[in-house]
């Protein structure tokens, strides 16, 4: 923008190129906006179109869409395209009216095309700079099936265009019908615009439906897609109040182990309280080592320490570990009727060794 605005003589002389420059910037802006917030864009477009429709309902307006932004865009892109593709055949004086002719031709020839044109305008914004072939072929993809069923005349012109790859031929043909069919054109355009509004509405409906579906599915699975991640390192230790103590499991020289339940997720965990009494030198280095190594260990055969939680006034420190139902020692001491089978011993040994390794 600033470049074209600076107005160096060379640029001014080539008015066409500067024009295209500005157009290009505008175009990319739009594209950005669209990428940024598609919904908002659709909404805006919807309101735009509604306004347009209201304009068109007023009786005597010959070219109602001249102020329309999208039309404008198409204008310019066509202008550019003609400049690049057709400059050799056509004199520059003739190009200007010709654009309108092309437009009119398309409008008059078929309303389906009109609708799809708007779609292609959207697509154009996506693909920054569409060449003539793309513009011609893309609308033909969708409406053909519809136009086949409705009107054969439009179908034929449609195909003609597709074959020619350039709208030149049809433009020449329909050149005279512009003024006579102006009224008709307005009517058709209103229809096409209303059609587009309908399509937009259906799009919105589909979107909302999808959203509702998503919500329902979330309710069904009870699994929100994004779990809340709590970073201990920045948010600090959680309090032991987050857990509901169920019962004491065991007490040893190292501390006391409780079975507890996470109040938020209802998961069972084992809470191990570190013995901190009579520590003169602050936090005991042995406990620190234990915590540090266990927090680093991530292995299926090593009991996982999930986090450290603290008591109400920092006097008690608990390690939150995954809850394992049995421990091998007590199982072997008390609970065994028969000794382990060979296969069981092998399995246990494998687990043990892979944990150590």
């Amino acid at each position: 923008m600033p470049k074209s605005g600076s107005g160096s003589p060379a640029r001014r002389a080539d008015s066409h190129s500067s024009h295209h420059h500005s157009h290009h910037h505008h175009h990319s802006d739009l594209r950005k906006r669209r990428d940024h917030d598609h919904d908002e864009y659709l909404e805006n477009k919807y309101t735009d179109l509604r306004d347009k429709l209201n304009d068109l309902r007023r009786p005597n307006r010959d070219r109602p869409n001249s102020s329309d932004r999208n039309r404008h865009h198409q204008h310019q892109s066509k202008n550019k395209l003609e400049k690049t593709d057709l400059k050799k055949d056509l004199s520059p004086a003739r190009t200007k009216p010709k654009i309108t002719d092309a437009e009119v031709n398309e409008i008059v020839s078929e309303e389906e095309e009109e609708e799809s044109e708007h779609e292609t305008e959207l697509e154009q914004k996506n693909s920054k700079r569409s060449n003539q072939t793309a513009e011609d072929s893309s609308p033909n993809k969708r409406p053909r099936s519809r136009s086949n069923s409705r009107e054969s005349v439009s179908n034929s012109t449609d195909e003609e265009e597709a074959q020619n790859e350039t709208p030149n031929n049809s433009d020449y043909g329909e050149n005279s019908s512009q003024k006579s069919g102006s009224l008709k054109k307005v009517e058709i355009r209103t229809r096409s615009v209303s059609q587009e509004i309908e399509t937009l509405e259906t799009q919105n409906e589909i979107k909302t439906e999808e959203r509702i579906d998503l919500d329902e599915s979330v309710d069904i699975i009870e699994n929100p897609p994004e779990p809340i991640i709590y970073y201990c390192a920045t948010q600090g230790c959680r309090s032991v109040e987050e857990f509901e103590c169920l019962n004491k499991i065991e007490e040893g020289a190292y501390g006391v182990v409780y079975r507890a339940k996470d109040k938020k997720t209802n998961e069972q965990v084992a809470l191990k309280r570190l013995k901190m009494e009579k520590e003169k030198d602050g936090f005991p280095i042995t406990s620190l080592r234990e915590v540090d190594t266990l927090l680093k260990c991530k292995h299926p055969n090593i009991v996982n320490v999930r986090e450290i939680v603290v008591g109400s006034n920092m006097d008690k420190i608990y390690m939150v570990m995954e809850f394992v139902e049995h421990d091998l020692k007590s199982l072997m001491q008390y609970g065994m009727k028969n000794p382990f089978m060979m296969s069981e011993v092998k399995c246990l040994m494998l687990q043990l060794l892979s944990g150590i390794a």
């Binding site: 201990c232 390192a233 602050g282 620190l288």
Partner: protein, 209 residues
């Protein structure tokens, strides 16, 4: 629902008999919440970093910056005097900085936390020093900085207060950092580079680190 059946299963397996805690509606609803506790140290966002907790307590940014600098310098000097390896000082400084991104300088006096940071880092880096040594060294630095006559520290009431303060600060440091206190330093990489360049002299590597 699922978790309830699971827990009842567990209960039948265990020998102790406990009455099942009544599952009210709120707890059932709370099963929808998925809370994942992560132990990794995340990259902090700009929003987390810029209005620091101290700035929220009306400390200007430059003052906070100076406080951080002084704290780190204290840690460095104390580490030298305690004859610690450089990694211990570096760890202490990192912990010090991290702590003051979640707490403010107003409520947490800088000096005690500098002491706690280096005291904790000596344990993390497996070169423990006694808390008395740390206090002694800080006392010495203070005397040197203020230009007083250097006297040995008196073991009196104020000493015990200071000691308890440091122990408390250490706990809070650990709590705020979620016990994720293991710091990975780039120094190891430097050593590897030095070895790759075949100039593995002790003096050079010490300088580089």
């Amino acid at each position: 629902m699922n978790s309830r059946t699971q827990s009842s299963c567990v209960l039948t397996n265990s020998s102790t008999t406990i009455t099942m805690p009544s599952t009210s509606d709120t707890t059932l609803k709370s099963t929808n919440i998925q809370l994942k506790v992560s132990l990794e140290v995340p990259l902090m966002t700009k929003e987390q970093l810029y209005p620091t907790p101290s700035m929220k307590d009306n400390i200007p940014f430059d003052v906070e910056f100076d406080l951080r600098l002084i704290g780190c310098e204290l840690i460095q000097t104390a580490g030298r005097l305690l004859k610690l390896p450089q990694t211990a000082m570096a760890t202490g400084q990192v912990l010090f900085h991290r702590f003051y991104y979640s707490k403010s300088f107003v409520k947490n006096p800088m000096e005690y936390y500098a002491m706690a940071a280096i005291f904790l880092s000596t344990k993390i880096e497996e070169c423990p020093r006694r808390i008395r040594d740390v206090l002694n060294v800080f006392h010495h630095i203070k005397q040197v900085r203020t230009g007083k006559v250097i006297k040995p520290m008196q073991i009196d009431e104020s000493y015990h207060i200071a000691k308890n303060q440091v122990i408390k600060a250490e706990r809070r440091l650990l709590k705020e950092l979620g016990f994720c206190v293991h710091v990975k330093h780039p120094h190891k990489m430097i050593l590897i580079y030095l070895q790759a360049m075949e100039c593995n002299q002790e003096s050079l590597s010490q300088k580089a680190c």
